[in-house]
Amino acid sequence: MADVIGSALKRHEDIRLIRGKGQYTDDMKIPGMVYASMVRSPYAHARIVAVDTAEARRVPGVQAVFTGRDLKDEVGMVPTAWIPPDSDMKMTPHPALAYDFVRYAGDAVAVVIADTPYIAQDAADLVRVEYDAMPAVTNPRDAAKEGAPLVHEDIAGNVAFHWKAGVSVDEVFNKAEVVVRHEFRQQRLVPSAMEPRAAVAQWNAATDELTVWVTTQNPHIHRLLMSGMLGIPEHKLRVVAIDVGGAFGSKIACYPDEVVVSWAARKLNRPVKWTETRSENFTVTTHGRDHVEEVEVAGTKDGHIQAIRVKAYANLGAYLSTAAPGVPTILFGLIVNGAYAIPHASAEVFGMLTHTTPVDAYRGAGRPEATFLVERMVDLYSEAVGMDPLAVRKINLIPADAFPYTNPFTLQYDSGNYQGALAKALEMVDYQQFRKEQDNLRKQGKYVGIGFSTYVEMCGLGPSEVAGAVGFQGGLWESATVRVHPTGKVTVFTGASPHGQGEETTFAQIVAQELGLPPEDIEVVHGDTAKIAMGWGTYGSRTTVVGGAAIHMADQKVIEKARKIAAHKLEVGEDDVAFEQGLFSVKGLPARTVTFQEAALDAYLAWSLPKGMEPALEGTAFYNPENFTYPFGTHIAMVSVDPETGDIELMRYVAVDDVGIVINPMLVEGQIHGGLVQGIGQALYEGAEYDDQGQLLTGSFLDYAMPKARFFPKFETAHTVTPSPHNPLGVKGVGETGAIASTPAIVNAVMDALAPFGIHDLPMPLTPRKVWQAIAAKGGTH
C-alpha cells in the first residue's frame, strides 16, 4: 500500500458538500421553531432613554419582545477569555442586550421573536428606542487623547490595558549608526466568512437540557462560556457545530446573539433560530487588525540590524471580545523581530477601546501585523543604508545552525532553514534579470517592482502551560478518541472543530497510514460537545498540529492493545510481533499473521483475550504540545504600476512555504491560496472605514472590496520541508501562512515600483486612487 500521508486524497467532506447536503446551522428546522431578529443601535455611542415595544408586540405572529432590562438579572456578562498578565487589564462589562448605554453602532438593545423571520424583522423595525446620542471616537490613538469620549465611564483614557515585553533597547538606539523610524497604519479588516453567523437553541424541559447549534470554531469553549452566562451547568448544555461556512477567526468569540437566543429558547420553551444578515455581519461580527504602530529599527551602516522597538495602539472596539487581548500582545508583540537575528527588541502595546465593532482574531491574528511591520522596516532600512533588500535579508536571517533559536522575547523557534526557502524561491525568480528589466522599463516610463517577505510565524497553539502564563483562560491541548469497531472500521472523535480546512480527510489519512486501513473505513466526528469529551477547537493553525498529534497518540494506544491481542492469538510474546500496513506478523515468520480487523473482532468478542485485558478496542489521548510550531518561508511578489491610473497589476506571485511534513499537498495548497488572497486583499483592496460619528462606511460588499477571481494571476507555490522536531507528526501548521506572509511582499513590491517617484510608503489598501494621488503629489510622470 502506498503512503497515505503525503498523498493528495480527494476530500471526504466534499461528498456531501458538492451535493448540497451540508448541514449548516441555518439549515436547521425544528417543529415549533420561532425566529429571532435583533434591534440594534444606529448610534455608536448613546444613552438608552426608553425602549417601547408595544407596537412590535401587536404584530400578529410575534411571540415575544425582550429588552436589555428583561435579561439584565438573568444573563451574565459576555466574558473575555484572555487576560494578559502584568497589563492591569480592565474588564469591559458587556451585557447580551444593552440596557443603559450603547457603545457601537450595532450594539443590540432588544430582540423580537416571531413565527417567521419576515415577521420578526418587520416587528423589530417597530421597536421604538429613544436614544440620547453622545460623541464617539473610532481611531485608537485619538481614543488615548485627553478629553476623548470614554467608551466605558470607569476606564480612564480608554486604555483597556498597557502591555510591555522585552527589555529596554534605548542604549542600542542611542549608539546606533543608523536609526529608521516609521509609523504604520494596519487597517481594520472584516473577516467576511461567506456563511453569516447563526444559532438555533432548543430547550428540553423534561431533562433541563439546552442544545445550541451554532456557527463556532470552538464548541467546547462556547459551552464553557455560555454555561457561565446562562447558569446552565456544562453537563446540561450541548453545543453543536456541524458544517461551518468559513470563519477565519470571526467564529471564535462567544457573541451576545447566541446567548440571547439560548436564553429565549428556555424562557419560551420553544426552539429559536437567529440568522445574521450580511449587514449585521459587517457591523457586529468581530473585525481584525486595526493598529497604529510606531516602529524603530537600529542598525549598522553595512546592513546589520541591531534592534527593533515597537509601540502600538491596538483598536479593540467597544468591548473586549473573547480572545481579543491576546491578539495584539502575545501573538504580535513577541514576534516583531520576525525571521531575523535581531539581538535587541522591545514591544509596547496599548489596548484601546473605541466606539467600534469589537476586534478579535482574524486569519493570522497578530502575526500578520508583526510580519508586516518587520518586513516593511527591513525594506525601509535597506533603503536608508543604500543596500539591496535581498542582501540585507541574507545578512540578518537567522542562520540554519542557530535552531532551536531563542528570540529576544524568549520564544524558542523550533526549527528552520530560512536560507533554504529563500534559495528555492530564487530558483523560481531570476532576481538579477528582473532588476535589469526593471531598469530598462523605467527608461520607457513603465514601473515594475519586486517585493520580498522572508517570514516566520508561531502557530500550533499551543503549550497549555504557556497559555496559562500568558493569560489565556483555557488549555490549548487537544483530545482524540480513535474507536475501532468490531469490523475494523474506525470512528475518530476530535476536539478540534474544522470549518473548511478538510480535516475529515487529513485526520483519516493519519489514521489510515498508522493503522494500515483504507481511508474510506475511517469517519471523523467533530463539533459536538455531546460526542466529544473536551476540546479547544480550531484556530491558530492548531488543528493538524495539535489535534492531529492527539490522533497519532490515540493510534499508538490502539496499536499497542491490538498487538497484545495478536500476540496472544499467535501464541508468541508481544515483542515478537511486528505491525505493518494493517497486518500483525511474527517477526521472522511472515506467514503467521493476524489482520488488524481480526484483532478488532477478538477485542470485542472477548472470547479469548490476554489475561486481565479489558474488552473493546479504542484509544483516547490528550496531546499537550511542548512548544508552538514555527512555519516560515519566502514570498516574492512582482507588480506593475500604471502611473497614469494608479492601477496595480500583480504579475507574478511566488510562495515558498515550509510548514513541516505535509499530509495532503492538495489541501495544503488550498490553505496557502486562500491565505494569499486574504493577505493580498489587505494590501490592495480591503479596509473598513468609520466616519467621525462611528458609522461604518464600508458595511456591505458594495463598499468593502472583497477580492475576486479576476484580480489574481496563477500562484506559484513550492515547499521546503523542515519537520517540527517536537511534534510527533513533524507538522507545523499552514492555515495562516499565506495571510501572514503576503501583505508585506505586495506592499514592498509596490514601493519598489514607485521608488523612482520618491514614494517610500503608502497606507493600505493601495487603491489606484491613493497610488495615483501619491504619484501626482510627487509631480507625476511628466
Binding site: D26, S700, R710
Partner: protein
Amino acid sequence: MEDSRVVPVTLTVNGKAIAREVEPRTLLVHFLRDDAGLTGTHVGCDTSQCGVCTVLLNGEAVKSCTVLAVQADGADVLTIEGMEEEILHPVQQGFWEKHGLQCGFCTPGAMLTASYLLSTHPHPSEQEIRESLDGLLCRCTGYETIVRSVQRAQEIMDERRESADRETRAI
C-alpha cells in the same frame, strides 16, 4: 395584517412541480430553502453581491435572493440538489477532483455559475473563467482551484461527450 395575504405559485424545481401559497415578498431563495426544503442553496449577503445563492432559472444563472418567488411562477429552477443525475455532474466531479471548495458555503452558487458558463461557452479561456466568476465571492479558496475545477469539468464534459459518441457509433 395586510401583507399576510398569500398568492399561489407553482415552480418546477429540479424537475418536480412544487405548488405553495407564499407572501408576495417571498424571495426565491427563501422559497427554495423554506417552502421547498432545499437547503443546498445558501444566503451569503443581502445586497446581491456574493452569488452564493445562484441557481439556474429557465437555464440561466440568477441570484435567487434577487428574484421573487412570484416572478419565478411557472419557471424551471435547477438547484445544487438537482445537478447530479446517475453520476455526479461534470462540474461536481471537477470541483471534487480539483479541490474547488473548502467550507462549501459558496460552492452551490459557484457550481451553478460554472455550469451556466460551460453551457454557454463550452471551452472558456482561464481569463474568461475568472471573469465569469465576477458575481461570486469565495473567501476560502483564493479562486485558483475553482478555475481549475471548471477547466476539469470542461474536460469531463468533453470526455463524456466523446464516449457517448463512440457508443452511438458502435450501435
